[in-house]
Symmetry: C2
Subunit: 236 residues, 2 copies
DNA sequence: TTCAATTTTTAGATATGACTAAATATTAGT
DNA sequence: ACTAATATTTAGTCATATCTAAAAATTGAA
């Protein structure tokens, strides 16, 4: 059973891995959790001993399967609590993060699964980020979603356009977007709903206007398998 | 800002003080929190240094005003979470305690006040125990409540009977209960709603049947002052 | 490819909170 | 009032998690 501190480090590593780097450096983790590199170095060694990360001195860490599951579970708890705080307690956007940061460490599978049900099994939190399911994987999004409504950090494929008119198709050409291209939503901007998107093939970053996002159908390019029965509780 | 451990000790001391003892012994606290007397001794000294208890070596502790407020606040958080778990997440009675025990340590006045509002400002938790208000005092119960519905651990007075018939009044005589007597509900038994009650004047313990509790009006004998505006946040 | 800059780790302290074992204070019983 | 039983504290360790300062490894630039 991990301590609060351990959970914070695992969460930080998960977030950094999502930013693309294969291995995560000690310094970047230190900065993320707000600790010194020295403390972080010690913690990385402990995480390695417990089998949550692969740690090679001087070369950073990578989450193991076990560590990844654990970090996804923390993310799940965090995002479900955010939903609750916003939808049911009437908190504002900017207030929820810190409180969810504390609630996420309350450890009870039963509690979180019931909270999930209470909230209606949401797929997205109020920031538009995907909420992992009880199996520690992101839930499949419905086949064919508008890009404007797709969760962040999922591998997506462009599968269609809403508006087949010439003007829009030409505009897509200008942007270099075509059917079948794979992409990931990195950031959803609150101001107007425009998206920062990374294209997998070219590794290009683009800012897409809402007018575009609302006219593109996307699907998951490697949907997680559907799990009918939850996995047995882990024993650690 | 107290640690989780400190909060657990304060809570234990509050509970033990409610059992009547003026000063609480180190061993009883140790047993309550599940630590050794040695660890507890060290903790009592720390709590004393921080001004949460008056601690005299070998003679036990007593909560200070500050410590009492803090402990009442923990109790408030615990009982509000219990309400939430039972009423909204569909937990069973016996499952809620352990989870509430974790949730109670999440420290955010804002969160708890909003949860309170979400739950409709309940006066009693599902065990029939009183829930402290945001000012750290038990809320006044409505003038004249049925004894059957009164919170535990409050100083009450018998102010009337529902059924003025001879048979009931004679029965009250047999039990030695009269108007004006002061009493406290110690325990509400889930089985049939019967109550263990302590009479203040005689210090007598009695088990009252539901048929009696449902026919007696009680009121608080020393109602807490009504606080219209919450106290300013404490600075420690 | 060598050496200076950067990153990361080690060494050595500190604080909290827990433990066991030993010492000491209080209390009850005669 | 004295002693045996009980309660409590002290002394000495340990584990976690943090820090600063110093040492060592890696990286990058000439």
């Amino acid at each position: 059973m991990p301590t609060v501190s351990v959970e914070n480090y695992l969460k930080a590593i998960l977030h950094l891995e999502k930013e693309g780097t294969d291995r995560v450096s000690t310094n970047s983790v230190a900065e993320k959790v707000g600790a010194t590199p020295a403390s972080t170095s010690a913690m990385m060694a402990r995480l390695g001993d417990r089998g949550w990360v692969e740690y090679e001195r001087y070369y950073g860490v990578r989450l193991t399967e076990k560590g990844h599951r654990m970090a996804m579970d923390i993310l799940r708890r965090h995002r479900l609590w955010e939903c609750f705080l916003l939808d049911h307690l009437g908190f504002e956007w900017d207030q929820v993060h810190d409180i969810a940061e504390e609630l996420e460490h309350v450890d009870s599978k039963e509690l979180i699964n019931r909270l999930d049900a209470f909230l209606g099994f949401p797929k997205l939190d109020p920031h538009g980020d995907a909420i992992p399911g009880p199996n520690g994987r992101f839930r499949s999004i419905a086949a064919r979603t508008l890009l404007a409504e797709a969760p962040r950090n999922l591998d997506l494929v462009v599968v269609g356009v809403v508006d087949g008119g010439d003007a829009f198709l030409r505009h897509l050409g200008v942007l270099g977007i075509a059917l079948g291209m794979r992409l990931t939503v990195l950031e959803r901007h609150v101001f107007d709903g425009s998206l920062h998107v990374r294209f997998a093939e070219s590794d290009d970053l683009q800012l897409l206007a809402p007018s575009v996002c609302e006219r593109l159908w996307v699907d998951q390019s490697n949907p997680a398998p559907v799990i009918l029965f939850p996995e047995p509780e882990s024993t650690d």
